[in-house]
């Protein structure tokens, strides 16, 4: 095609390109409106809310003030709360990785019928409400009346009930149980991409089973473990039901703190500041670790 025709085509309105672009905008408009309406606007309003003033008697005052952020930054009460949140999330992530990765590996090696059965067993908890599952833990370990505590005490194995309710250990255990399916599924997905002959190849070269797992299998499922870790970490750090039931009012995390500020103290701006800080911290952690993982494994898994 000659240059003259090109220019003529570019000057004609509307060209095929702009028509396509317009059609694309029209097509994504409904989804975009939903996204803006239910996510962007409420989020922006929450951010704005965190800069508003609040008083016991005057309620929310729509002014721009750094009071809430200053309070969070200076009062060690909030620092403690956030450190606890991330400590719990980190421990939960570690536990799910340590138990979930081998679980997925074993699951992947099972034969047909057993595989589907145990996959159902692992996914089963997802079908039950988090509240019901957490209350289950409370029934087993809650104080003197917990089933397991009662049993162990009547057997004389322990003198006083194992502390579970209102402890960080209890929260981590219950959260790890809730989060396990996400880790198992993520690792399992990574295992699906591993060539089934690869372990035989390593075996034929003289590697022991331990070496095969350490040097051949683990490096290949590591991206799965890490992406599972990101999911589990962010879900645990923002979890509400489990910390609310196990930790109660005594052992608050960021999510339960924000909830209390909103619904008990009615200090919405402070609650909004806590929620926004949690969101920003999580986004930074997730995006940061994801970038690290991508860079580390780009060469191998692209």
């Amino acid at each position: 095609m000659s240059a003259a025709v090109d220019t003529a085509a570019a000057n004609a309105v509307p060209t095929a390109d702009t028509r396509d672009a317009r059609a694309a905008w029209v097509l994504i408009a409904p989804a975009l409106m939903l996204f803006v309406g239910v996510l962007v606007i409420p989020l922006a309003m929450t951010v704005m809310l965190s800069f508003h003033d609040w008083g016991q008697y005057k309620g929310i005052a729509p002014v721009f003030i750094l009071k809430n952020w200053h309070e969070i930054a200076t009062d060690p009460y909030y620092a403690e709360m956030f450190w606890r949140t991330f400590r719990i999330a980190l421990l939960t992530t570690l536990i799910t990785a340590v138990f979930g990765a081998p679980e997925a590996y074993i699951l992947n090696r099972m034969s047909g019928r057993w595989k589907s059965f145990f996959l159902l067993v692992i996914l089963g908890p997802l079908l039950i409400s988090v509240v019901a599952r957490t209350l289950g833990w409370a029934l087993l370990f809650g104080g003197n009346n917990g089933l397991v505590n009662k049993l162990l005490m009547s057997l004389g194995l322990i003198g006083k009930p194992l502390p579970f309710m209102f402890t960080e250990t209890g929260m981590v255990v219950a959260l790890a149980h809730v989060m396990m399916p996400f880790m198992v599924l993520s690792v399992w997905a990574a295992l699906q991409r591993v060539d089934p002959q690869i372990e035989n190849a390593a075996l034929s070269l003289g590697a022991s089973s331990l070496t095969i797992i350490r040097r051949i299998v683990l490096p290949q499922i590591m991206p799965g473990v890490l992406s599972g870790a990101i999911i589990v970490f962010s879900l645990s750090a923002s979890a509400f039901a489990t910390p609310a039931i196990i930790g109660g009012r005594r052992l608050k995390v960021a999510a339960t703190l924000a909830y209390d500020e909103f619904l008990n103290t009615l200090n919405w701006p402070l609650g909004a500041a806590v929620a926004v800080l949690l969101l920003v911290a999580l986004v930074l952690i997730v995006v940061g670790s994801n970038a690290l993982i991508e860079r580390r494994y780009a060469e191998v898994f692209r």
Partner: protein, 347 residues
């Protein structure tokens, strides 16, 4: 004594017999192919030699020692898998080096061996590449280098060329044969490709439904197939129903209007099979009509309808005029160019 011996090896998966009564003696340095359609038990047999499966019956011996008692990791066999099974998180050099590391070889010697192995398969300069960034043919070469660098007593190849395109496959066949000849490594190749088996191996083991149909050199299995299966599987062939008539003197073997002196020892209905390239057009012989004529460069392919059913004839394109479609011809061949099956033993 042969180098590798399989003695009445059998494999059972539940009620299903996958390999049955497999007996084979492989000489040192020999190149053997297990040839058969998928599901004939050839890969299962290979996996029993490798140690990934235990035989249900029989024994496997390497240099006189029972191999089944040895852990797969200690057998010291080199294996190239159909999927190559390279370690994707390791570079080409690390892949090749892995087997030597497992043998606790000192670093300097290891590096030297890895370099030599990669050079042997023509991959000098690719040491730091990851498998994902290599072509199928290059991955194949890395897999071969990885299997050979440990100086295996036996090299096992499980359909190694089936994922390559036709041209590359041919190149790799030649290269594989050269490398194998130079190193003198005893090699077993599993394949369903008869051309590959014939062009690479010293001897072919033709398998069907878990049983050995024939063991022989490529020429033997092609020229004198032991069963209908072998003649059908190895290249194209024409089977004609024929009869041996001993009531006349001298006794005759006849298929339609083609006839020849009867071979000794058989009588009654038999099947004769003739390779398409051994059939010529003559003045006497089996009456046939040319249905289609296809020009394929160096040869002509004729599909004929004969008195005894359809037949294929291949003629060299030697410049002589060839019969046209629809023409009536006579098909003839020399008695030594056919093989004969069936019939009853004659007195």
């Amino acid at each position: 004594m042969s180098f590798l011996e399989l003695d009445r090896v059998g494999k059972q998966f539940g009620p299903q017999t996958v390999v049955d009564d497999f007996t084979l003696a492989v000489g040192k340095g020999e190149f053997i192919s297990f040839l058969g359609p998928s599901g004939c038990g050839k890969t299962t047999t290979l996996q029993m030699i490798a140690g990934f499966l235990d035989p249900s019956r029989g024994s496997i011996r390497l240099e006189g020692h029972d191999l089944t008692a040895v852990q797969p990791a200690k057998r010291g066999l080199g294996i190239v898998f159909q999927s190559y099974a390279l370690f994707p998180h390791m570079t080409a050099a690390e892949n090749v080096s892995f087997g030597l590391e497992m043998r606790r070889m000192p670093r300097a010697e290891r590096d030297e061996r890895v370099r030599a192995a990669l050079a042997m398969v023509g991959l000098t300069g690719y040491e730091e590449r990851y498998p994902r960034r290599m072509s199928g043919g290059q991955q194949q070469r890395v897999a071969l280098a990885r299997a050979l660098v440990i100086r295996p007593s036996v090299l096992l190849l499980d359909e190694p060329l089936s994922n390559l395109d036709a041209k590359l496959r041919e190149e790799m066949q030649i290269e594989l044969r050269q490398i194998q000849r130079n190193l003198g490594t005893t090699t077993i190749l599993v394949t369903h490709d008869q051309i590959e088996a014939m062009s690479l191996s010293d001897r072919i083991v033709v398998m069907s439904q878990g049983r050995i149909e024939q063991i022989g050199t490529p020429q033997e299995t092609y020229e004198r197939p032991a069963s209908a299966f072998v003649s059908q599987f190895l290249g194209k062939t024409n089977d004609f129903a024929a009869t041996v008539d001993r009531t006349v003197a001298p006794a005759r073997l006849a298929a339609g209007s083609w006839s020849a002196p009867a071979p000794a020892g058989v009588v009654g209905p038999v099947t004769i099979s003739v390779r398409p390239e051994r059939i010529g057009f003559g003045d006497t012989g089996l009456a046939a009509k040319i249905v289609t004529r296809i020009f394929q460069g160096n040869h002509w392919l004729f599909q004929c309808e004969t008195e005894c059913g359809p037949a294929i004839v291949i003629r060299q394109n030697d410049g002589t005029p060839q019969p046209a479609e629809g023409e009536t011809v006579r098909l003839a061949w020399r008695p030594e160019d056919m093989s004969l099956r069936g019939g009853e033993a004659s007195a």
